[in-house]
């Protein structure tokens, strides 16, 4: 349309009612027309430049339920992922499952002495929240308030172990509350020292997160607009005062705000701005209930307390997009980034889309097969084929595990969805961890006990069975296998059952939807299930493998494992010795044929080709952890 208009204007200028044009007039008119055309062209160009997407649209499987994911009921991955770009603290977790110190925000150092174990967290000067209020160590104090049970009781806020507190916090009840003795604030208010009774494993994961306490204080006063600089300063001073005097009434008021006022799913211009005070590269601009949240670059705090974002302006989360809808939404350029589990069909569909790159690879969730040796925690007396710690039971279990066609499984079921899949030989370190995995599996025993070729393993299993159950051909051992009743598990179980049948086990595949509540059901002799790994912790999976642990559902009783676990649960160890203990545990598990790791779950991340810098991480926040490196 524009072009037609333009031609029309041009025509009317040149051919002006039969008037003969002299050169001068023509030149003048051409100039005018040229200018207009130039302006229009510029308009188009500028417009195009504006439309160039510096926006990234990604999906979350569930909608936002609240802005404060430290509140017990609000502890959803979505909530923490959406809010992640709005905050910086002492560290962030990267895609190698390591904590990366964020020195732009602050630093910490630890000291052990006769009075205990002290960790000093120092906030870097000259940082502000996005309302202009300076950030200092007073902003770290709320973390103690919502994690220390003793403080809660002392301040008259209620006993968290009894379930009633002013702050409905997820932080109570853990190691922090058991170990913390006191907090010391430096004179310049820039350093907070946490005093623990002794050093403990993974203490560095307990850094206090900053929280805009002045905003909380103003909210508790019933304010609905941002305070002036002086008012914010006064509010912060008041908070510190309340903290030092343990003012019950004030903290009850603040607790109510902290636990309920942030639980909003709609954010717009009428939202109380005090709820949105933040210090991240982005700030929350708007949220539409059940549909989306939009974050925009925060001109005040971007690059101040953490890495600076330079290439994108906007992050939009869309909620509730089904895995099956995502490929076409990607193809239609409605979303730029999608991560999830994938089926072979889904992967084929994704591969057919032109404008995306695929990062198909394993997730940290891994599959394992576990055998029952006893009834867990006094559930009852288990009398199945694998019961007990005798040599005979161990060898029977071994024959069973030897006959698992681990290679065939990868070949037939996993490779179509993950071209890099390999047989998993550890439950602690994953093949995707690279060199660490290679050195780790040299000593963890899985390869030692189950590393032979399938033919060799079957031969060994057959000879074991000939010895243990001479009449296995006519009277095979019956095993009930528990697994979730989804397509992959069913296919998996059938594949295994065929192999087991060759060495004298008749396996009934017990696929059921409520499998997880059936793991202590003594009817089942074995189980196929998956574990997801988070940020590595020293205690590892002792919670599931120790004899007396409430979560040891398969009933393994093994003093050697318990001994290693008691060390791991004690003082902090260096990585090398941690590895040694973990390897020792895995070795025991393999030697006694309790369990065997099978494979890592296949996952996929689809990224629009224009979007660069995305490095999917196996732990929350999976995709968005390095948003400052993105460009689109």
């Amino acid at each position: 349309m524009n072009l037609v208009h333009l031609l029309f204007i041009f025509y009317s200028f040149i051919n002006h009612k039969g008037e003969t044009l002299n050169l001068k007039t023509l030149a003048r008119r051409s100039t005018i027309v040229g200018t207009i055309a130039g302006l229009l062209l510029a308009d188009i160009l500028i417009f195009t430049a504006q439309a160039a997407p510096r926006t990234v649209v990604l999906t979350q499987p569930t909608p936002l339920t609240g802005l404060n994911s430290s509140v017990t009921e609000m502890n959803l991955a979505t909530n923490s992922e959406v809010m992640y770009p709005t905050g910086f603290g002492f560290y962030y977790a990267n895609d190698a499952k390591k904590l990366v110190p964020n020195t732009k925000f602050g630093t910490w150092k630890s000291k052990k002495d006769s009075t205990g174990f002290r960790v000093s967290y120092t906030v870097k000067p000259n940082q502000t929240w996005n309302d202009g209020t300076p950030i200092d160590a007073v902003d770290l104090l709320l973390s103690h308030v919502v994690s220390s049970e003793k403080w809660s009781i002392d301040a008259g806020l209620g006993d968290p172990s009894a379930g009633v507190t002013a702050f409905d916090s997820l932080g109570y009840g853990g190691t922090y509350t058991k170990r913390i003795k006191s907090t010391v604030l430096s004179d310049n208010n820039m350093t907070l020292t946490l005093v623990y009774d002794k050093a403990f494993a993974d203490w560095d994961q307990y850094a206090p997160g900053p929280f805009p306490v002045h905003a909380l204080s103003l909210l508790a006063d019933g304010k609905t607009t941002l305070g002036t600089d002086a008012a914010s300063k006064a509010a912060k001073a008041k908070f510190l005062d309340d903290y030092l005097t343990k003012d019950t009434a004030r903290f009850k008021a603040m607790g109510k705000i902290w636990s309920t006022s942030y639980n909003i799913t709609t954010v717009n211009a009428s939202t109380n701005p005090l709820l949105l005070v933040s210090n991240g590269g982005f700030k929350l601009q708007s949220c539409i209930d059940q549909i989306s949240c939009t974050l925009v670059i925060d001109p005040v705090t971007n690059g101040m307390s953490g890495p600076e974002t330079t290439e994108i302006d906007k992050i939009v989360y869309r909620f509730d997009i089904a895995d099956t809808s995502a490929p076409q939404a990607l193809a239609n350029k409605e979303i730029d980034l999608y991560g999830g589990q994938v089926t072979a069909d889904g992967l084929t569909q994704l591969k057919a889309i032109k404008n995306i790159t695929l990062d198909a690879g394993p997730q940290t969730t891994y599959e394992q097969l576990a055998l029952r040796t006893a009834g867990p925690n006094d559930v009852g007396d288990y009398k199945g084929p694998f019961a007990g710690e005798t040599k005979r039971a161990r060898e029977l279990r071994r024959a069973f595990l030897l006959a698992v066609p681990r290679e065939d499984m990868i070949q037939k079921i996993i490779l179509p969805t993950d071209v890099s899949a390999v047989v998993l030989n550890s439950r602690v370190v994953m093949p995707s961890d690279g060199a660490a995995y290679k050195s780790y599996i040299l000593n963890n025993g899985v390869k030692q006990y189950f590393g032979a070729s399938y033919t060799a393993r079957m031969a060994e299993a057959t000879s074991l069975m000939n010895k243990l159950v001479p009449n296995w051909k006519s009277k095979p051992v019956v095993v009930n296998l528990l697994h979730r009743n989804n397509a992959r598990r069913t296919a998996q179980c059938q594949l295994y059952a065929a192999s087991w049948a060759k060495v004298g086990f008749t396996v009934a595949c017990g696929g059921r939807a409520d499998w997880s509540s059936q793991t202590s059901n003594l009817e089942y002799d074995a189980g196929l299930f998956a574990w997801g790994a988070g940020l590595p912790v020293q205690v590892g999976d002792c919670g599931q493998t120790e004899s007396e642990s409430p979560n040891s559902t398969w009933g393994w009783i093994n003093p050697a494992i318990d001994k290693n676990c008691s060390v791991l649960k004690g003082d902090p160890l260096r990585e090398a010795s941690r590895n040694r203990y973990w390897q020792a545990i895995e070795k025991e598990q393999s030697k006694n044929a309790y369990t065997i790791p099978l494979f890592q779950w296949p996952g996929v991340t689809a990224i629009a080709t224009t979007l660069k810098g995305v490095k999917p991480s196996p732990i929350t926040p999976n995709l968005v952890w390095n948003y400052w490196e993105w460009s689109n």
């Binding site: 909608p63 502890n75 932080g171 539409i288 997009i321 089904a322 076409q328 988070g534």
Partner: protein, 514 residues
């Protein structure tokens, strides 16, 4: 009559009580909301587990918990309705009140289209039983009926959204595609039109040429980038509507009806530009409502002026015409917003989305842009739902209509020399509508329950999504909330259907039943 309604409402409460009690307890037995924490040993999960038990009152046995729930629900009678909280600690009522409008938005257009198309096609296929048209429609409707919606959705997303948007980026339809589309249209019309081979050939050929011509013209004129009907096309369409409505409802030889309908078309033309001004200046739903009232009253006034006898029927005719003309004007206004919508930052030249109920990247709050955004998000789900659901209406209407047409009173009507239009519209159609009405009422009540799969595949979060979420998360309160709404509506709809049946069919008296 009143006694009947009273009795029925009494039964309704008994049914709702019984079914909710059974459902509550069965659901509570079937799964444990605590399941996801079963293996978790970390401190956070333990804390979350404690909170979940506290918040959902899981330590009370389900049968007792049901009565606590019932107490909250019975609060509806004294203004303190309480459906409890979901497992994410959100108020179930707030979730329901957010989901119901979304669902209504999603299914209303589709349901109305399906009913309208289904009844119209059903009538025509019955009147022309065993014709080629009958076979073609039956074939297509059964084909669509048998397709699963998730598959239809994938196809629609591919062709109506992705490929269409790609086409807009290029702005050119391949000549091969144009020929293919034209050929398909030709085959369709050849199937629909009866008559001699010569006539069929002519129809097919003209359909082919016309389609090909229109497609070429659209490509050449870049109509897709700046569509719009303009006053002339709006007028032509209005005249068309006036003739069609009059022809069906009164017959073209009824001069007053034709005159008043045509006047409405004329008024539409005269008011075209003033309306554009009003639309630009003061757009809101209130304005649309006011205009609708104004339109209908004008239509009534005009008919009163033109008609001396049979006023009611003439008024009805012109009101229907005026609504049709109004819709055309609104369509024109929406189409003229298109070019602006296309260039919006969040749309970027790809207007048809595959997911969602609105574009979250949109920053404008211009009335027409927002409405157009809703419309483009409705296109795919509406087409999908209509395609798969109108077959039922076609078949039911056809069957009922055939039965009615074989009745003695139809033969009598024909025998006494009534025109075929009068026989069909006044005698056959009305009697056909009696059973259909009752079906429609029940269907509409079911609509609130949400289209679970449709909502899922198109990324809408209405009642279907809530239901799905409630089941997969063992979220008992949420499930019961959805159930309470749908079950109440279902029972009420059955009551309304019975009453309507009695009202429409004088042979039936409700008081004598039950």
């Amino acid at each position: 009559m009143l006694a009947f309604i009273g009795r029925r409402i009494g039964t309704l409460f008994v049914i709702l009580f019984g079914s909710s009690f059974i459902l509550y307890n069965l659901t509570a037995i079937s799964g444990d909301p605590r399941e996801q924490y079963k293996f978790a040993t970390d401190e956070k999960s333990q804390s979350a587990l404690r909170a979940l038990v506290r918040q959902l009152d899981l330590e009370t046995p389900p049968p007792l918990r049901y009565f606590k729930w019932l107490e909250g629900v019975l609060g509806v009678f004294y203004g303190k309705l309480n459906f409890g909280v979901t497992r994410d600690n959100e108020d179930v009522i707030s979730r329901l009140s957010a989901a119901i409008p979304t669902t209504l938005k999603l299914v209303t257009a589709a349901t109305l289209t399906a009913i309208f198309l289904g009844i119209a096609l059903g009538m025509v296929t019955a009147i022309r039983q065993y014709s080629r048209f009958d076979y073609v429609v039956t074939f297509f409707s059964f084909l669509m009926f048998s397709l699963p919606i998730f598959w239809v959705a994938v196809l629609l997303k591919q062709f109506l959204a992705i490929e269409f948007n790609d086409f807009l980026e290029v702005g050119y339809i391949d000549i091969g595609w144009r020929i293919l589309i034209a050929a398909f249209t030709a085959v369709f019309w050849a199937g629909v039109i009866g008559g001699s081979k010569n006539r069929i050939a002519k129809v097919a050929l003209s359909a082919f040429i016309l389609t090909f011509g229109i497609l070429t013209a659209i490509v050449a004129l870049k109509w897709f980038y700046d569509p719009g009907l303009g006053p002339i096309v709006v007028f032509i369409l209005s005249v068309g509507i006036a003739f069609a409505v009059t022809a069906i409802s009164m017959g073209l030889d009824n001069r007053p009806a034709l005159k008043s309908s045509l006047s409405i078309a004329l008024i539409t033309l005269i008011l075209y530009y003033p309306l554009q001004y009003v639309f630009d200046k003061y757009s809101s739903w209130l304005l649309i409502l006011a205009l609708a009232v104004l339109t209908i009253s004008t239509a009534t006034l005009i008919s009163v002026l033109f008609a001396k006898i049979d006023r009611g029927a003439v008024i009805r005719t012109s009101v229907i015409t005026s609504i049709g003309c109004g819709l055309v004007v609104i369509l024109d206004r929406l189409l003229s917003t298109w070019s602006e919508y296309l260039t919006l930052d969040g749309v970027n030249g790809r207007p048809i989305p595959t997911i969602g109920q609105m574009n979250p990247l949109l920053t404008t709050d211009d009335f027409w842009l927002v409405q157009l955004d809703t419309v483009v998000h409705l296109i795919l789900p509406t087409v999908a739902l209509t395609l798969i659901s109108f077959a039922g209406y076609i078949r039911f209407t056809r069957g009922t209509m055939l039965e009615v047409l074989n009745q003695d009173y139809i033969r009598t009507a024909r025998a006494k020399g009534l025109s075929e239009r009068v026989v069909v519209v006044r005698h056959a159609f009305r009697n056909t509508m009696i059973p259909i009405t009752t079906i429609i009422v029940v269907d509409i009540s079911g609509v609130i329950g949400g289209a679970i799969i449709t909502e899922r595949v198109f990324g809408w979060s209405g009642m279907g999504t809530l239901f799905n979420k409630a089941i997969s998360g063992y979220d008992l309160n949420l499930l019961m909330g959805v159930f309470a709404v749908t079950a109440t509506l279902a029972v009420l709809a059955n009551l309304v259907a019975d009453l309507l049946y009695a009202a429409l069919d004088p042979r039936i008296r409700v008081g004598n039943r039950l």
